[in-house]
Each structure stands twice: as structure tokens, then as C-alpha cells.
Amino acid sequence: MSRANVNLILGTLLVAALGGLALLALVWTPYDVNVMNIAGKLKPPSAEHWLGTDQLGRDILSMIMVGAGTSITVAALAVAVGLVFGIPLGLLAAAHKGGLIDETIMRLNDVVFAFPFLCLAILITAVLGASAGNAVLAFGIFNIPVFARVTRGGALSLWEREFIMSAQVSGKGVARISAEHILPNVLNLLIVQGTIQFALGIQVEAALSFIGLGVQPPTPSLGRMLADAQTLVTLAPHMAIFPGMAIILIVLGLNLMGDGLRDLLDPRLSGERT
């Protein structure tokens, strides 16, 4: 079995496991995360509470299940924002290479990348208010140029290919060629990049919520759980350890999936990639 497959299988298993737990949380959790139990707070892992309880006596395993769902939703929506706006922009830029649209889009790209990563997100959430929705918006905006750039890069080389020229000769317009011929051929690139941005989104949600600019209480998210844990790390290390491990497993899974997919979809890259 090639390494690509090992990565892909391992990554998919990890993502499926964590995603499965998050889905399960929609219908069932070991304990209700909205019920506090102050008498049983900050308990280390035990037979009743496998991963212990938090400062309000809530079951950490249940919190992680619900929190993973929140984190995954935020990251997925941010990727969706990036795809919805980034793909048309990238296609447009490639179709009119070197034109005014292309130049403008690429310059705006540079501007977004000029902001230290997270800085733009922090600025946006700071001004618009801290909420899960604004975290989606903030990271979504960052995703737009990422996907625009990937789409443009893939589409540029396609426009030189013969099958595109024959489509042009047959009288198809730029928009139709982009949609019918270019887009399906850059989908591979977008899927791989999408997985990477998804993983990044989980980390961004965690970081923003950790500093209080993301998901707000009482909604559990993995980043929020770590924020709660910070001041209590001496008393209840399990409050920090387990949500962090959940983040690591999801991100690791997504990254492995991305690597595996890249090798699978573009065999030329196997072994040579970073």
C-alpha cells in the first residue's frame, strides 16, 4: 500500500471518528451539557465521567462532542465562504489574464496576505463583535483569496490546452467554458486546498475562541473549553488536555487526508512533496 493511501485512510478514520462523535452529539451525549453540577465540578477522569468534569461540573466528553460540532461547523462555513467567492474570482482572473480584473484580484490577494495571519480576523471580530458568525466571516474573508489563487493557478494552464481552444472555436463563451471545462478540471486542486483550509479553520476557531473573540458562552467549542481551562490548569489539567487532543486529532486527520488526496489525485507529486 502506498504512503498516499496510508495517509488517506488514517486521516479519513480520524476525521470520521471525531466527526461521528460530533454528529452523535446532535441526538445523544453521555450527559446534558446545559446542566450544571457544582458539587461535582473539576473532577478528574473517573468511571462515570471518562474525561472528568469542568468548572461547572459538566461532563468533558459530552462538551468535547458538542464542541467539536461547533468547531467543525465554523470551519466548514468559513471554507464555504471562501469557495463561493473565491472560485468565481479565480476563474474570472484566469479568463482575463493580465487584464484589469486579474490585476485587481491579485493585488487584493497580496493585501490580504500582508496581514499577519489571524490579525485580520482579530480586527474584524473586534470591531463587529465577538461571535461565532463573525469568526466565520473573518476566516471566510481570508479564505477567498486562497481559493481564488488556487483556482486561477490551475485555470491558467488549462486555458493553454487544446480542448479549451476547441471549445472556443465551437463558439462557447468565456463563462460557459469556465463553468463546463475549467472548473471540473481544477476541482482536484480545490478539494485538496479545501481540506487544508478546513484544518486551518479548526485552529483559527480554537485560537479566536481562546482569546474570547470567537464562539461565545454558553455554546461549547473546543477553543472555548481551552479558554475556560487556562486559569484552572493547575487544579484540573484534564480540562486542558482533552479538548486540546481533540483539536490535534481533527487537524491531524484533515491534514493527512489532504496529503493523501493530493498524492492520489496528482500522482506526479507523490514522494516529492513537502
Partner: protein, 315 residues
């Protein structure tokens, strides 16, 4: 060469100009106007009016934007209304924490990544390579602030080798200051080291396939001599570019990490200013960070084009 530099310089200026407009615009869309946003809902109308005048909000937007930019160019970053002192002064103080922290982390990540990347490339496809690559996958996935908390738990609380946070300042001597920055720097360096290791490895693998490497072996150099004398040196070029890009991540990472360790750096300043709704400070610090990132990447590009003249034609 001169043409290339001028072209890059022009694009640097355009990027900075647009970025400054973006920052200005984001601050402008703050609910209500900045003055009432800063003072909160319970502020007296005349207090808001006074702050409006103080901030010059009664002037047209374009004029305010231009005077903000103009003042910044002359080193006047405005006056913080929470700290009641000049923003330039506040930033200057904070730089003494943030810049050493970033440099410390950069050095650490390089010290880890270079040997690890070279080792993995030299043992490509073997167990050692797989172990290093597995480690980098993990390193990329670990959130640095969580890693920071774990470091505090182990080295500050259990082993008591380091303090759990805070910064004594440089006046108390260099050693205590560096000690206080050590855990934060390690936490910041880890994900960067993982990325850098991967770049170093793949760059060296590319170089090892080059003809001149075969020539070096044919001359009678051993494999490791050839790797060290010819391979590593040539593999460094792309690595340096990534190192430049990492500055951006280090700065951003510092915002969160300074929070965990209660370090009085720029990151914590942004955070405190956001909580205090001190938009003047937020605006100026973000602009400064953007400037730093753009400038460093510009310098890396120029340095790169001096080393590798082929690049000048490309952009």
C-alpha cells in the same frame, strides 16, 4: 536589477496603501461611530462629543484617513485614550518584548528544523525519515497556545524550572528576561519548526537529484560530504523565503501566546486595546504589523533575487 527593485517597491507601496484603507474602513464600520463605540453604551452625549472632537471625527473621512497616514509617516501614531500617552511610546515599550520573543522563536525553530530536515532528506524513505515526517504532522496540528499551556503545566507547575508567566523586564538583567521568554518561544517555535523541517527536507531532496551532486560524488566526495558542501547550501534558498513568510505567523502566534504567558508585548497590547475599545491603538498596531510583514517579505524577495538572478525576470 534596479528595475526589479523599483517594481517590487511599487507593489509594496500599493499593498501598504490598500491595506491601510482596509484597516481604516474596518474601524469605520464599528457600530455607531468610533467615539461612541469606544466609550460604550452608557456614555454621556457630551463626553462622546468631546471625544469626537479630540479624535477629529467631525472632519470628513478622506481628510481623517490622510492625516492618519501622514502622521504615521512622521512617526506620530496618535494618542491612546485609555493609556493617555502616545501610541508610538506604548508600541516602543512593547517591542522590547515582542521582537526578542519572535527572534528567539525563529532561532529555535531553525535550530530544530535544519538538522531534522537534513536528516530526513538524507534518509529519505527510511524509518528515520518517516519518524521525522510523522513528528512534523503532529507539530503542525498542535495549537501553539495549547502546547504553551502544557509547557506551563510541566515545566512551571510540576518541575518549577520556569515561571508560569509574566516578564521581569530587561533592566533586571538579560538572563531572567531570556528565561521568562523561553517557554513562550518554545511554544511559538514548534509549529514553525514543523513547517520548516518539511521545506528543508523537500528542498534538499530536490537538490540531491541535481547533476552537480553526482559530479561531486564522482570527484570522490562521500555522500555526507557532498550533502553538506553542495546540497545544504543550495537547498537553503527556498528555505530562506519560507523563513521570511514565517515572520507573519510568528507575529500572529505571539498575539495568542503572549496572552497565555501574560507577556507585555504587542500581541497583548492589541488584545487589551480591543477589550478597552481603544481603536486608535488597535488601528496603529495592526498597521505596523502589516508594514513589518510586507517589508520583511520585500527584503527577502530582494535578497533572493540577488542570490538567484533568474527570479528577476519572472515577476
Amino acid at each position: 536589477m534596479l528595475r526589479y527593485v523599483l517594481k517590487r517597491l511599487l507593489s509594496l507601496i500599493v499593498t501598504l496603501a490598500v491595506a491601510s484603507m482596509v484597516i481604516f474602513a474596518v474601524i469605520e464600520v464599528a457600530p455607531g461611530d468610533p467615539a461612541s463605540f469606544m466609550l460604550g453604551v452608557n456614555a454621556q452625549p457630551d463626553t462622546v462629543a468631546a471625544l469626537r472632537t479630540e479624535l477629529g471625527l467631525d472632519q470628513p473621512k478622506a481628510e481623517r484617513y490622510l492625516s492618519w497616514i501622514g502622521n504615521m509617516l512622521t512617526g506620530d501614531f496618535g494618542t491612546s485614550y485609555t493609556y493617555r500617552s502616545s501610541v508610538a511610546q506604548i508600541i516602543g515599550d512593547r517591542l522590547w518584548v515582542s521582537v526578542p520573543l519572535a527572534l528567539y522563536a525563529l532561532i529555535l525553530s531553525t535550530v530544530i528544523a535544519f538538522p531534522a530536515g537534513i536528516y530526513a532528506a538524507a534518509r529519505r524513505g527510511k524509518a528515520g525519515d518517516a519518524a521525522v515526517m510523522g513528528g512534523t504532522q503532529l507539530g503542525v496540528a498542535v495549537p501553539n497556545f495549547w502546547f504553551a499551556m502544557m509547557l506551563v503545566l510541566i515545566f512551571a507547575i510540576n518541575l518549577r524550572w520556569f515561571g508560569a508567566g509574566g516578564f521581569p523586564g530587561w533592566s533586571k538583567g538579560v538572563f531572567p528576561a531570556i528565561k521568562a521568554l523561553t517557554l513562550p518561544a518554545i511554544a511559538l517555535a514548534l509549529p514553525q519548526a514543523a513547517i520548516l523541517t518539511r521545506v528543508m527536507r523537500s528542498s534538499l531532496i530536490d537538490v540531491l537529484g541535481e547533476d552537480f551532486m553526482r559530479t561531486a560524488r564522482a570527484k570522490g566526495l562521500t555522500r555526507s560530504q557532498a550533502i553538506w558542501r553542495h546540497g545544504v547550501r543550495n537547498a537553503l534558498i527556498p528555505v530562506l523565503t519560507i523563513l521570511g513568510l514565517q515572520v507573519s505567523f510568528l507575529i500572529a502566534g505571539a498575539i495568542v501566546i503572549e496572552q497565555v504567558f501574560y507577556l507585555p508585548g504587542l500581541g497583548r497590547l492589541i488584545f487589551q486595546s480591543i477589550n478597552a475599545r481603544d481603536l486608535i491603538v488597535v488601528e496603529s498596531v495592526v498597521m505596523l504589523l502589516v508594514f513589518a510583514v510586507v517589508l520583511i517579505n520585500f527584503l527577502v524577495d530582494i535578497a533572493y533575487s540577488i542570490v538567484d538572478p533568474r527570479l528577476r525576470q519572472r515577476t
